[in-house]
Symmetry: C2
Subunit: 322 residues, 2 copies
């Protein structure tokens, strides 16, 4: 079959022939890929910044495909284990280690295969799985979002952040955003956000406080030095969900602010198969359309990676496969 | 009446005559004080490190007394408000602002007055309220402790930390402690703790990991630079409760560790009247005896404060009043 393969660490990946996957038992499914989408994770793997990469390996975690005559999406978190609170030792994400989604055929446990929401195009369905499950768990399972609450989502533009914005809007929250790009803030407002501020502005937190007041829920993927400003923007009893750490180590948390405001901070990554099923239901019920930034042919995958590297995307970058 | 009064900021308090409290309506209770206990809060007020102090003011938050022919304790958190998640704007703790517990008579809302557990001496009952409500909320309401879990309580020796140790033991957890004093660790083991390490040891976290492994629950009142070591000692899906910040700003939280381990960090302070009632039930059911470090006559209050200042206490420092 054809696949985008990282042949050696430090090399660029190539679209080449690769052995077909072989099912090892009846619990395995071979999904024929229709479309895939990129994640930052794929870039980190290319750059050798992700642990456990053992080339040669097929890249990719997100796909829509065909299996048993149905159009399906794959929950990319494999072998979560028995504890819904946290993934177990055998857990890994499709694509590392083991072959991933950017191929004609993908081998996954059949328990991870779900019928794709019928209202989505192939491109939209390919954009949903990883971002959808991450957003669903951090918003609903961890932060317990409720209608009428005010939520701040940082870094609007990324796949998970945009999905958080869409899910929170569908759940009846008032949504505010931050971004390093005024254009992305405008596009988030087009999606339904109440407003946002550019975090390149020196006093972005004060500006946001003036515009929006304090937040019941904050969803962050940056961490770093900006996190203490998020703490100040938190309303009493606020929940802060963190699913990424692009800006590195968090400094400057005031314990007094933490306990006097009765704040809760939740780390969250991916989600269970049960949550994945509920996420798909939520997407279907609310007719949510994942935001697709751009669609590329599989032969153009390097341009797709370049676009992600430049951070210019608003939504998911999709590869048409079949 | 006689009371320990801070007459001016920066001065030492004095045991002097002070006007009797006057109830302003039927919702007010005048409790005749039998014994009181000290909190760090009282020291911070003396030192001007607590906001909102308006002398002259009677110090103190913890007491056992008599009201309507019954022996009672007072929930020191006043006017919590309607949201169990967080105290409202009118909330304050007995003693600042407004007159506190170190007096012949104390005025409090009658809804804050609870019958004292019958199995406690006056000294033990005086030691319970503030530490008990703080420990109960952070352990049960916030961290949801369960039998068989492994818990780490930092700073064994303080009133809240010792109460956390006792409550967690009664709830069927395996309890470990840290302290700056080997003697206090030994005394925590006498109470039932499995063991502990001295945080003055450079590699206390490694030592503790070797002895005990990872923890399902961590209760901290320090914050500061040591907090990142607590994060490393956290098991997957662990809950970390923080009710104090003696070591100041928390630095060095890894977002990756937070989300990959699915950790939860809960700030917690004091608790509702409902939680106070449940706490008293828990103490009665399990026959818990609050740890009294030492008992002083009210005329010796300055020595009692000195002992707290020196940090030598193990458990609560009590003033006999009547």
């Amino acid at each position: 079959m054809e696949a985008i393969v990282l042949k050696e660490k430090g090399q660029l990946p190539a679209l080449i022939e690769h052995p077909d996957p072989r099912p090892s038992g009846p619990a395995d499914a071979i999904v024929e890929v229709l479309a895939c989408s990129l994640n930052h994770r794929d870039l980190w793997i290319l750059k050798g910044k992700y642990p456990g990469v053992q080339p040669p390996v097929v890249l990719g975690s997100d796909l829509v495909g065909r299996w048993n005559g149905k159009r399906v999406v794959v929950q990319p978190g494999l072998n979560w284990g028995s504890n819904p609170e946290v993934q177990g030792k055998d857990y890994h994400i499709l694509g590392v280690p083991g072959d991933g989604a950017f191929a004609d055929k993908v081998l996954v446990p059949s328990e991870n295969v779900f019928e794709a929401p019928v209202h989505l195009t192939n491109e939209q369905a390919a954009a949903l799985p990883l971002a959808g499950i991450t957003a669903y768990r951090v918003l609903f399972t961890k932060c317990g979002i409720k209608p009428g609450e005010k939520i701040l989502v940082t870094g609007a533009g990324g796949g998970v952040a945009l999905t958080c914005i869409q899910f929170a809007l569908a759940a009846g929250l008032e949504v505010w955003v931050t971004s390093g790009s005024d254009e992305k803030i405008e596009r988030a407002i087009d999606l339904g956000a109440a407003g946002g501020v550019n975090y390149r502005h020196a006093e972005w937190d004060r500006k946001l406080n003036t515009l929006a007041g304090k937040f019941n829920v904050i969803i962050d993927s940056a961490g770093g030095d900006g996190f203490q400003r998020l703490m100040k923007l938190a309303a009493p009893a606020a929940r802060i969900g963190i699913y990424g750490g692009g800006q590195g180590t968090i400094r400057g948390i005031s314990p007094q602010m933490l306990f006097w405001k009765q704040l809760k901070i939740f780390g969250s990554t991916m989600g269970t198969n049960g949550e994945f099923g509920k996420m798909l239901e939520f997407v279907a019920t609310h007719g949510i359309l994942p935001v697709v930034d751009s669609v590329w042919k599989k032969t153009q995958f390097q341009k797709a990676f370049d676009r992600m590297e430049q951070g210019r995307q608003f939504g998911k970058i999709v590869l048409q496969w079949a």
